[in-house]
Symmetry: C2
């Protein structure tokens, strides 16, 4: 087991790995990230340097110990979908896996958020992780939109919107020290993206209507007969 991607997955976290993460965070919080060496971490955890590097390629990786597993989970989830999945819904559900990881241990997530804000190297690491999530989502959407005009544009834009919405809600929760319902905040943020981009299951007819506050959106084929559109509108507006 020489790379992070081969590290044990969910439900089989070895105690030594957990002990290294706990030792690292205790030292990061006590002395600061830059002032803590891998030698300090292994000394506190009572293991050798080789054990550290068995689980973590670098000191930065111990700050984000679960992203590799989460990325693998996300890729597996996307690969397990089929053609009947509404594509935008599927990537929103995939993004929720990241929130799930943060929610497993709110205290740790908040500590890490504060640490990351202070250390430029960790911010850069986090950007590269976010980029990998975004690429996984975009890759799935590109495949689903293959052959469509502007398929890659649409895929890239929607993946970016999903990540931005997810992170807007996640960061708001982290800034509030993990209080409040992160799941509800992320659901609301992702619902905004889904309402913008999700495809109606059938080619749009005088049918798809969505109420958002006091605004009603009606999508209709240009050649739909007017009486059908009006009938739909009556139903939606409650005049019928």
């Amino acid at each position: 087991m020489s790379s992070t991607s081969a590290a044990p997955g969910r439900g089989e976290k070895p105690p030594m790995r957990d002990a290294l993460v706990a030792a690292a965070f205790r030292l990061f919080l006590e002395r600061g990230y830059e002032q803590t060496t891998v030698d300090d971490i292994v000394a506190l955890a009572g293991v050798g340097r080789r054990s550290f590097f068995r689980y973590f390629p670098s000191k930065e990786d111990v700050v984000f110990p679960d992203h590799e597993r989460c990325l693998a989970d996300m890729e597996a989830f996307l690969a397990a979908g089929d053609a009947t999945d509404e594509p935008v819904r599927r990537v929103c559900d995939a993004a929720r896996l990241v929130l799930g990881m943060y929610g497993e241990n709110p205290t740790f997530s908040v500590q890490r958020y504060r640490l990351t804000k202070q250390v430029p190297g960790l911010r850069a690491y986090e950007l590269s992780v976010v980029r990998r999530y975004q690429r996984a989502l975009a890759g799935y959407l590109r495949a689903r939109f293959a052959g469509r005009p502007d398929g890659t544009l649409r895929a890239d834009v929607i993946a970016a919107a999903v990540v931005a919405a997810h992170n807007n809600a996640l960061r708001s929760w982290l800034r509030s020290d993990g209080r409040g319902d992160a799941g509800a905040e992320v659901d609301r943020a992702l619902a905004y993206v889904q309402s913008t981009y999700a495809e109606v299951p059938e080619p749009p007819r005088a049918a798809a209507a969505e109420a958002d506050g006091d605004v009603v959106v009606v999508v209709s084929r240009r050649d739909a007969p007017l009486w059908r559109v009006v009938k739909e509108l009556e139903t939606v507006l409650g005049h019928g």
Copy 2:
């Protein structure tokens, strides 16, 4: 002049700075980025180390010599706007400044694109630059959407969508070795974002309608009288 942000702006590029960039790129292409030191660069340019660091905080910065100016231009452009600007259009126009920078010297832009793909450190640097552009756009939109429910969510999502659309078109142009019309590709990509997010000038009534292919979208207040909505629909569908 000790920081990049204090470096000379557009139209007053000093010859020494240009000479350093030219020397650096010649060496990066000949020997590789990692194998080139700042000492090698200043030796070829015939200047001292202090001159290098007067213009560039690090070796990475010489690869992206114009981003600081472009970021400053973008911030100035956004700050110069007023309340009559449609916000999404304004951020799309701001994003076009980045394309303009790449278009000033296509050969250099393509070389840098290839170099960045090969060097992980440069990719990380580029991610952090992209992040700063995205924050500038999001900051502008947050201010414009202040006081609206979900204003920050909307701002963050639209900024991410703009950057993703811009970069989808820019990268496609760079991959084609700078052939083709980058401006037209970026315009098309940004038009997709604008058509999704741009606000109708008036608060939505039974009015805003947008035709996209053979699909018509009507946005209406839930409490609008049905006859007004039907009238609008007739006009849009061409039955009236």
